[in-house]
């Protein structure tokens, strides 16, 4: 029950899950108990298309430090792309 705010955002793109590639429409980001990762809490991201059912999801559970480094990596990659990443 020790769960916190869910930050959801609409996204456009694709993800690959057990059934293959699919278009994703939402990303839910929350810091909560993981299902699998061996930590008490993790930064969880669900890339999903809720309209296609709960199984249409790619999930990651990251340690807080890993999540922060991932944010930096994403920002760095986008900045390096310059005008192409608009």
């Amino acid at each position: 029950m020790c769960s916190y705010l869910t930050v959801a955002t609409e996204i456009a793109g694709s993800a690959k899950g057990p059934q293959g590639w699919f278009g994703v429409t939402s990303a839910s980001v929350y810091f909560d108990h993981p299902y699998h990762a061996p930590f008490d809490h993790t930064l969880n991201i669900d890339f999903a298309d809720p309209a296609r059912g709960p199984g249409t999801r790619v999930a990651v559970e990251l340690s807080a430090d890993s999540a922060r480094r991932l944010v930096r990596s994403i920002n760095e990659a986008l900045a390096a792309a310059g005008a192409a990443a608009t």
């Binding site: 839910s28 059912g53 709960p54």
Partner: protein
């Protein structure tokens, strides 16, 4: 001959839950003719996962008919439990009325088993701790265990993703003795919230027993997480079996 604790059978069943929905459940039964008490095992927020099923088997190994319903079955009986948990979380959790209906039906399944002794206990962890308390104020059971359930008391923070409300005002409705196991480093529930529950139980004249562990926080029974605290967990398991031995034995 195998040692008694090795002799059990386990597998999935389905039963009819709240509003006639088909609900799947993991069931573990001791070998032998019984009679055995029953235990309703309630999973935590991350869902109908393998560690909760291990707990269910442990009760069978100790001589209890045990059943762990999939509280997120409305997402689909064939949906992976982790996907069902994520979708249910996104939807704000499960309504209390739905939970109570499912719990009531699961208790009836336990009582109807041919090896049942007629007594049924309930236990839950984390969000399941609140659900265990909710069962014990709503469904005829004979003993309850609340393992660090949040929001039985206290105030739900603004922006909290689950649509939950505290239950403490309904403490007078408690139908059975309550065992509470808590970590003193926990924030949900924190020690003051455990105090509030204890005061309500005293005021209502209910039978209860609380054990609070120093050096332990939330989820100290979770063997696969850093929160695991062997001393608290080992003592806690002993308290659980003493509690059920006291209130669920006989027929």
């Amino acid at each position: 001959m195998p040692a008694p604790e090795e002799a059990l059978s386990a597998g999935n069943i389905t039963f009819t839950g709240y509003e006639d929905a088909e609900v799947n459940a993991y069931q573990a039964l001791p070998a032998g003719p019984g009679p055995f008490p029953g235990v309703l095992v309630i999973h935590h927020l991350p869902g109908w996962d393998s560690t909760t099923k291990e707990i269910t088997r442990r009760f069978a190994a100790e001589g209890y008919n045990a059943i762990c319903p999939n509280l997120y079955a409305r997402q689909g009986l064939d949906v992976d439990p982790d996907d069902a948990a994520a979708a249910t979380r996104e939807a704000g959790g499960i309504p209390d009325d739905q939970f109570v209906g499912d719990a009531d039906a699961a208790v009836k399944v336990l009582r109807a088993l041919p090896t049942a002794n007629g007594k049924v206990g309930v236990i839950g962890y984390c969000s399941g701790g609140r659900h265990s308390f909710l069962t014990a104020i709503s469904v005829p059971v004979d003993a309850a265990v609340d393992c660090y359930g949040a929001f039985v008391t206290g105030t739900v923070p603004d922006g909290f993703p689950l649509k939950v409300t505290p239950l403490v005002d309904r403490t007078p409705d408690l139908v059975c003795p309550l065992l509470g196991l808590f970590g003193n480093d926990d924030q949900f529930p924190n020690p003051e919230q455990v105090d509030e529950l204890e005061a309500a139980l005293k005021a209502a004249g209910k039978t209860y027993e609380f054990h609070r562990y120093d050096g332990a926080g939330h989820a100290f029974f979770s063997v696969e997480r850093p929160a695991y605290r062997p001393e608290a967990a080992v003592d806690g398991w002993q308290r659980i079996f003493e509690w059920y031995g006291r209130y669920l034995a006989g027929s």
